[in-house]
């Protein structure tokens, strides 16, 4: 459920879970749009030849999904920063889930920090990070 004001937010509150579209069609289209037209983003077999488990979603696509998730939850929020650590590739055509939870509240500056985790179906963390929103 979307919130109207950030000052309603409490420590430990979960953001609604976000299911990103990581289909090969989407990762391919996105990679082409941003000029990252490398086979590792568009072709499972070519990616496997590079040692990957399959074609991977571009990192900036994952970051875009993280921001989308935050805006779905708080349409009024200004996203000041998204800081990501890429631990493992987000493999195209595999199901992923993005979770977020409020882990710091700066009342003085009206800022909220959110932990973000992109996990696969096995619950393994592929990408994690934090976002600062106002």
């Amino acid at each position: 459920m979307a919130i109207k004001k950030l000052d309603e937010v409490e420590f430990g509150v979960d953001l609604p879970t976000f299911i990103p579209d990581t289909s090969l069609a989407i990762t391919t289209e996105f990679a082409k749009l941003i000029g990252w037209n490398a086979p590792r983003f568009t072709d499972h077999e070519a990616a496997k030849k590079e040692g990957l488990a399959g074609a991977m979603a571009p990192g900036v696509l994952s970051q875009g999904y993280l921001v989308a998730m935050i805006h779905n939850w708080a349409p009024v929020a200004e996203v000041l920063a998204v800081d990501t650590i890429f631990r493992a590739p987000v493999i195209a055509d595999e199901a992923h889930t993005i979770t977020g939870v409020v882990t710091d509240i700066d009342e003085e500056n009206a800022k909220v920090e959110i932990d973000l985790t992109v996990a696969n179906e096995k619950g393994e963390t592929r990408v994690f990070g934090t976002a600062t929103v106002k």
Binding site: G12, T103, D104, L116, E124, T130
Partner: protein
Amino acid sequence: MILDLHTHSIKSDDGRAKVENYCQWIRSKEMPIDGFVLTEHRQHDFESDYSSLAAKHGLVILKGSEVETEYGHVLVFGVTESLTQAFDFSSINLSLESVIETCEAHGAVAVPCHPGRPRVGMFAHTEELGVPNGVKIVEIFNGGSRDNEDQIAIDNAENLGYQGIGGSDSHIVSHIGRCGTAFTNDINEMADLVSALQAGEFKAINFKH
């Protein structure tokens, strides 16, 4: 009591968690751990004093380190000023056997972490480099493990007669407490932890779902 023996704060280059938020999280989520050890990458944080935070939240907060060897990453418990002068904590290519030997000489304990992980885990290197001397304990449950990394750690530890600890390897607040280590006796300071590890009085716990 249960401690998470492997956590990172904003003191680590890839850590994003403030220690106070770890405490808030543990208490607000009623997590079944009694404290944690900060094991910052390639350094030891002598400066920070978390005693007031620990008292405020009723948690044990200790400080160790995570160093890097040719066999991968290694947790060090019981770090002293003299130990940090005995080898270069900031190096990314220490000798594991030398780290273990030096730690023992300084009353510290070295524990290879996430040993089942490619590249940065000990068992990824034993085929090429051989089984290193001196290892007694490895981390068998790591909160960041993927695929069968924990199982590789468990199987190899069993085969080689190592004991196992657990740690979340958390870098953000909400990842703390995914794994832990249970101790028979109370651990209130680093000397207690080192003694318990040396005595083998502990058991790894996996809280991952």
